[in-house]
Amino acid sequence: MVLSEFAGVSMPDWIDALLRVIFIVALMTIIAFALIYLERKILARFQARVGPTRTGPIGTLQSIADALKLVTKEDVRPITADRWAFELAPYMAFVPVFLVFVPMPFTETWFIRDLNLGLLFVFGVLGLNIVGVVMAAWGSDNKYALLGGVRAAAQAISYEIPMLLIIVAVVMVAASRIAVDGDASAAGSINAIVGDQTTTPYILLQPLGFFIFIVGMLAELHRPPFDMPIAESEVVGGYFVEYSGMRWGMFFLAEYTALFLLVVLASSLFLGGWNWPFGADVGLGLQIVLTFVKTSVMIVLVIGSRALFPRLRIDQLMAFSWKVLLPFAIVQVLANGIILAYGGADWVVGLVSFGLLVALGGLVYYVMRRKQGEGTRTVSTTPATPRVITSPEVTPVEAGGD
């Protein structure tokens, strides 16, 4: 979407660029506000509560009230904090996430820029996010923050690998379908991948990929069951424990923006984004509705996982990534390569991936049930066999002392 065309006026490039930046920031802030409100409401429903009700009609202005409160709050910097690391960290966490917005397709024609290497760009930029987190953790001069930051870094490193591998698998499938005369260079573009899902969403072709992507996404976003970096009962909030006011708000905003963007990415890659799977051509309006419906379904999934899962331990998280997800992702890539190289049909790809997903699920189920073992046994008490009462009898003594 070129704004100058969109608005019907000609303007210099730099104004155009500036307007786009403002547009992104404004839109994402609004979306983040809406997400925060939605999360509070949906989470409340999961938890037998009603959520915010007092601010505006059914509490819709709650996020704005929160933001106002954050803006007016005193911005405290601990005296022993590393000044530059501490003050720059929120921006380092914030800017990369907003850059991810660029290649996201909301409709067939609505995106900032359709990048050829869109997927690579997304993960390249999003990976920078962790620098901000580690800066915040180190700069705060706080032990909880340090632990949280180290956890976040370890987690980000170990989860981006299976996630990227699974993206490779998806792109392989896309490339084999999109390729024209052996040229598959378009398959790196997110919009092209979405455009290919007119009849078959890729979740049918790569169900294992969808699962691993969701897991990696939850880890990337520090959401339960992978929220150790911000675990309240262990590290009291983690890397942003020393932040207050709007600096803290920026971490928060970055987190919710990343949630929205990764969810859009997931629905683009696996659910067909703006595509209506039955019959190709739908109008612009319907496309945007489809994008938001698919996104919303995924968001409820993510929020539900927050309500219904406890937290894994850091070593279990690493073990799950390196010992389970990574091998399965590699097998998936190899399987895709072999099948596609021999010109296997799409349904073979889908079936193999589904088989792998079932194997993964079965493995986790089997291991956990074995770990769980037997439950408690019960010892029966019958009224007939109580022991003889021994102790609570009064024993007379000479009460000592005054």
Partner: protein
């Protein structure tokens, strides 16, 4: 060729100098102001990365001298302090105290009062275990879901208590010899209704937590304690039973009218955090069983206090150690009377204090996150630890 030297010596061969990457252990304060400590408990953890190398617990932030306060008032007046030791199971604490005084003074209490006491105490056990489920769920990492679900049920029980005695936490309802006043007219029907709801609530907690893979991964084999270890630390209650010792004072040293009911004692096998959770969950079901039987057997009319009670209570000189099964373990009151209207000595045996002492070996060489879960599984009430 340039001659290589190392610390002044001329070397003929290059030397590989091995350097170890030095790390230092870090001390982390868990508490007294920390979301995981259930009050003002402080635990200084020495951690090497995520591994806990040492743990030093500090208690005493809540010490109010409850024993001395109880000695400074007469036998009836000190009752209010008993609520304030174990505030999650106040009826149980009161019950131990009044039972101790009654046995010391040789007072017989009417059957109906005994039933009401037992019913309220068992309800309080349910309430306390619900509280445990919620707080423990938060420790393990449920974002409030376990907490709100269990608090919903806890509220129902508190509503019942409020209807009976007008208070939701500090009841002060038992009296030496009986009860303060009659429970309200629809007590039995209300109790049945609450029990129906609570049973659903127990099922909800079971569905939410027991078979959740992540929950199992976090709790199994964490903080495991053998039966011998548990006994050597003086651990009692669900923690001891989780280690495989079927010791329950309600059966092993029957007080009140527990021998009239049939129920079962859940016993764990590995003594880890998951077993403690399972034991408490099963205990809640057994409490419901006891309550149903008690409510059916309870006489609908009759006195709630003895016909004649002395105006001033002066038990004959003597001593007594009365112990009962509280939700957290063996709660005991040791009382010495010197024949005056004040006890000469009151000693409270707090189960949490002894259970908490077993924390250190449980958390050493585990992960930081396990330390939090192990602490949560002890189900401490700091007011009771510090008294």
């Amino acid at each position: 060729m340039v001659q290589q030297t190392f610390e002044g010596e001329v070397l003929t061969e290059p030397v590989v100098v091995e350097r170890e990457f030095e790390t230092v252990d870090m001390n982390i304060n868990i508490g007294p102001q920390h979301p995981a400590t259930h009050g003002v408990f402080r635990m200084v953890l020495t951690v090497d990365g995520e591994i806990v190398k040492d743990a030093i617990p500090y208690i005493g932030y809540m010490h109010r001298g409850g024993e001395k306060l109880s000695e400074s008032l007469d036998y009836r007046g000190a009752l209010g302090y008993q609520d304030r030791t174990d505030y999650l199971a106040a009826f149980n604490s009161e019950w131990v105290y009044v039972n101790a005084v009654e046995r010391l003074a040789g007072i017989e209490i009417p059957e109906r009062a005994e039933y009401v006491r037992l019913i309220l105490a068992e309800f309080n056990r349910l309430l306390s275990h619900f509280m445990f489920m919620g707080a423990f769920g938060t420790d393990v990492g449920y974002f409030g879901t376990a907490f709100t679900w269990t608090f919903k049920e806890r509220e129902r029980i508190q509503d019942l208590f409020e209807a009976v005695c007008g208070d939701r936490i500090m009841y002060n309802y038992f009296r030496v010899g009986g009860l303060a006043w009659e429970p309200h007219e629809t007590f039995i029907e209300d109790s049945h209704w609450v029990l129906d709801q609570v049973e659903v609530g127990i099922g909800d907690v079971d569905d939410l937590m027991t078979n959740n893979e992540v929950f199992v991964a976090r709790c199994r084999d964490v903080g495991a304690m053998s039966a011998d270890e548990a006994i050597s630390f003086g651990v009692t209650g669900p923690m001891l039973r989780a280690s495989g010792v079927p010791f329950d004072l309600r059966v092993d040293e029957p007080y009140s009218i527990y021998d009239r009911f049939h129920w079962e004692i859940p016993v764990g096998e590995r003594g880890d955090v998951y077993d403690r959770y399972l034991v408490r969950l099963e205990e809640m079901r057994q409490s419901v069983t006891i309550l149903r039987q008690a409510l059916d057997q309870m006489p609908t009319s009759g006195p709630i206090e003895p016909e004649r009670m002395p105006a001033r209570l002066r038990p004959p000189p003597g001593e007594i150690y009365m112990r009962q099964e509280n939700p957290r373990g063996e709660y005991g009151i040791y009382m010495v009377s010197d024949g005056t209207d004040k006890p000469w000595r009151v000693k409270m045996r707090s189960p949490c204090f002894h259970n908490l002492s077993s924390l250190r070996p449980q958390v050493i060489n585990t992960y930081l996150a396990d330390a939090v879960v192990a602490l949560g599984s002890i189900d401490i009430v700091l007011c009771e630890v510090d008294r």
